[in-house]
Amino acid sequence: MPNEILLLIKYTLLYSSVLMMVALGGMFAERSGIINIALEGIMVIGGLIGVLATQMTHGMNPVIQVAVSVIAAGLAGMIYSMLLAFASINLKADQTIGGTALNILATAIAMVIAKRVNGSQSSKLDYTNSSFIFNVFGIDVNVFLFIGLVFLILSFVILYRTRLGLRLRACGEHPQAADSVGINVYKMRYIGVLLSGFLGGIGGFAYIVPAVQSWNFEVGVAGMGFLALAVMIFGQWHPIKIFFAAIFFSLFKSLANIADSVSFLSRLQWPKEIYNMMPFIASMVVLALTSGRSKAPKAEGIPYDKGSR
């Protein structure tokens, strides 16, 4: 029994750091006024580049390996998110459609690259993840837990205590007001989207690397990016609430992983899919219950046009 609890904690920690980081990313984009539905795709790209960096730094000092591959994943996500920023900010495209395109593209790109790297028809990449995992009090803890907590604190401070945060939030609520006091709305929205790309990229990497030693990019990140969007909404676009929402969703997600090995759960003989479904069902219930009190940024999803006032 304690082993099973430890396992549950392990997976919950793993998933909650992923969901939290990605949801924080989504939060920055939406607080600046851009709906980032491309998080799923950004995670895939971040995960892919992170994995490749891990392969390349194989055998190096673990600290360097972790630093290089995490930064590579973040930058890859950031660069990829630029496509969303360009389409939705400069070209005033429909943000949802643009994001969907990037999701579809990401999986295709990842598969093409993975197959090319393998030189075969398989899009599965192998790597070792020992540098990313520590053992604390008998629980395997991965480095992303700490990275996630740092991002959580940073996000809160940036959003509520700095000039950047104030301006970013103004652009998501009332871009015309921000513009009228000389704030460059486009720039702020770029910052918001790029931050989300950075966090999303690292989040994708954090989802793939600590858990397993090989990943088939055919499956992308299996809906984690969308789940992160639900976490963000449930967390009402607020860092601290996102933190708790991430833990809540991760619990469900973790159950799927340990259902087979946990005796009292396996006795139920429920198929694994039921547990896989749970976070999505939970998010629907939660969204329905909280729908009346949404604190969504007012101007999100609306392209800002300098000409129209």
Binding site: A93, T100, A108, K115, S291
Partner: protein
């Protein structure tokens, strides 16, 4: 004036779609070229750029563009069989767009439609037309749910649809697999049972050969084994076009799509409209799955449970490329099916078939700001025809 205006609106739509396609294909070629280059480079032997280019063109791009005609005997059937569900998912997304909704849930509705059709065929052994009906109903229910959430809880249909995509996928796989002992599951192939013969006689949609002579010639020869699903898809596209443009129901849903508030003012029940149009969109996507799986060209694979069916998402490209015009959807679906089949014929040791997905992804990306092209083209046409814009006052 009247005709010029119509021409302008129509032409700029078609041209902007073609521009998106051209740019998408251009990017596709660049990727092919780079892949070709990297293959030559890693081989370690000397090579010329012309070789690189020729490989990219002959073994990649040309086959992508040729699509089914690269191997017409098998290819044509595959392409037509794929085009039918693509038209349907495309119509599903397009119809929702007309109501101002983004049906990203076509993939989930398609999944449920597949389940409905296959359940009726394999377990209940019903004739194919009843199975098709079941696929519509299952898809419609799965579409109506996000509509319901949108109408009564004001939750964005995009987020709900995405959630129900995954819920639907997991649910259907669980039900079909049934722990390895599901009635629809064949453990040997890890797929659903092959339908159409034996105890499943009459569960598949008839083939085109019913329209053909005993010994068909030319195209008929390649198509005789293809099911008549494609005709259903085309007929529905035409019906949908008429509903949207010529009926008061179409007037209502388009009003809702353009302006919820104005529609409400006009006494149109927006709640009813949202649920209804999502249900219709879902039914269309579900029907697409019915057309595909009841054609006997593929079986459902419940163990591939981590990714959603691609037809659902391709429906988004199809709809966008057609500017949500149901007739346009027929052509854009054929195009997407064409490059998808072509993607499979590329030389796999150089070029992964997912390049076709990249092209279609780029096309969606471009479609997101197609309006930009449209405005530019429309201005260009005005200039060509020397028409003066009679803008009077106001801002």
């Amino acid at each position: 004036m009247n005709h010029l205006e119509k021409l302008k609106r129509g032409l700029s739509t078609v041209l902007s779609a073609l521009i998106s396609v051209a740019i998408g294909l251009a990017f596709g070629f660049i990727i092919l070229f780079l892949l070709s280059l990297s293959t030559y480079a890693s081989a370690g032997e000397p090579f010329t750029l012309k070789q690189v280019f020729d490989t990219a063109y002959n073994e990649g791009f040309l086959r992508l563009m040729k699509g089914c005609f690269y191997m017409v005997r098998r290819g044509l059937k595959t392409e037509i069989s794929q085009a039918a569900p693509l038209i349907m998912t495309g119509l599903s997304v397009a119809f929702a767009f007309k109501t101002g909704l983004f049906n990203i849930g076509a993939a989930g509705q398609y999944t449920l439609g597949a389940f409905g059709a296959l359940y009726c065929a394999i377990v209940l052994k019903l004739p194919w037309y009843l199975c098709l009906l079941a696929s519509v109903l299952f898809g419609a229910v799965w579409g109506a749910i996000p509509g319901f959430f949108k109408a009564y809880f004001k939750i964005n249909e995009v987020i709900t649809s995405i959630m129900f995509n995954w819920i639907g996928l997991y649910a259907v796989n669980t039900l079909i697999y049934g722990g390895g002992t599901g009635a629809m599951y064949c453990a040997k192939t890890t797929k659903t049972w092959v339908i159409g013969s034996g105890v499943y006689e009459g569960t598949t949609i008839p083939n085109i050969s019913v329209f053909l002579s005993e010994k068909p010639q030319g195209l008929g020869l390649y198509l005789k084994d293809t099911s008549i699903a494609i005709f259903f898809a085309i007929i529905i596209a035409i019906i949908l076009y008429i509903i949207i443009n010529k009926t008061t129901f179409g007037y209502e849903i388009r009003a809702c799509g353009h302006s919820q508030t104005a529609a409400k003012y006009a006494g149109i029940s927006e709640k009813r409209n949202i649920i209804l149009s999502m249900a219709i969109a879902g039914g269309l996507a579900g029907f697409g799955a019915g057309l595909y799986y009841l054609s006997g060209v593929a079986e459902w694979q419940p163990l591939v449970s981590t990714s959603l069916p691609g037809f659902g998402f391709d429906g988004i490209s199809v709809a966008l490329l057609a500017s949500s015009n149901p007739i346009g959807v027929i052509f854009s679906a054929l195009f997407i099916a064409h490059i998808d089949v072509g993607g499979g014929y590329m030389n796999a040791s150089f070029f992964p078939r997912e390049i076709a997905d990249i092209v279609s992804g780029i096309i969606i990306y471009l479609c997101a700001f197609m309006l930009l092209f449209k405005t530019a083209i429309s201005k260009g046409i005005s200039r060509v025809f020397g028409a003066k814009k009679e803008l009077e006052g106001g801002k």
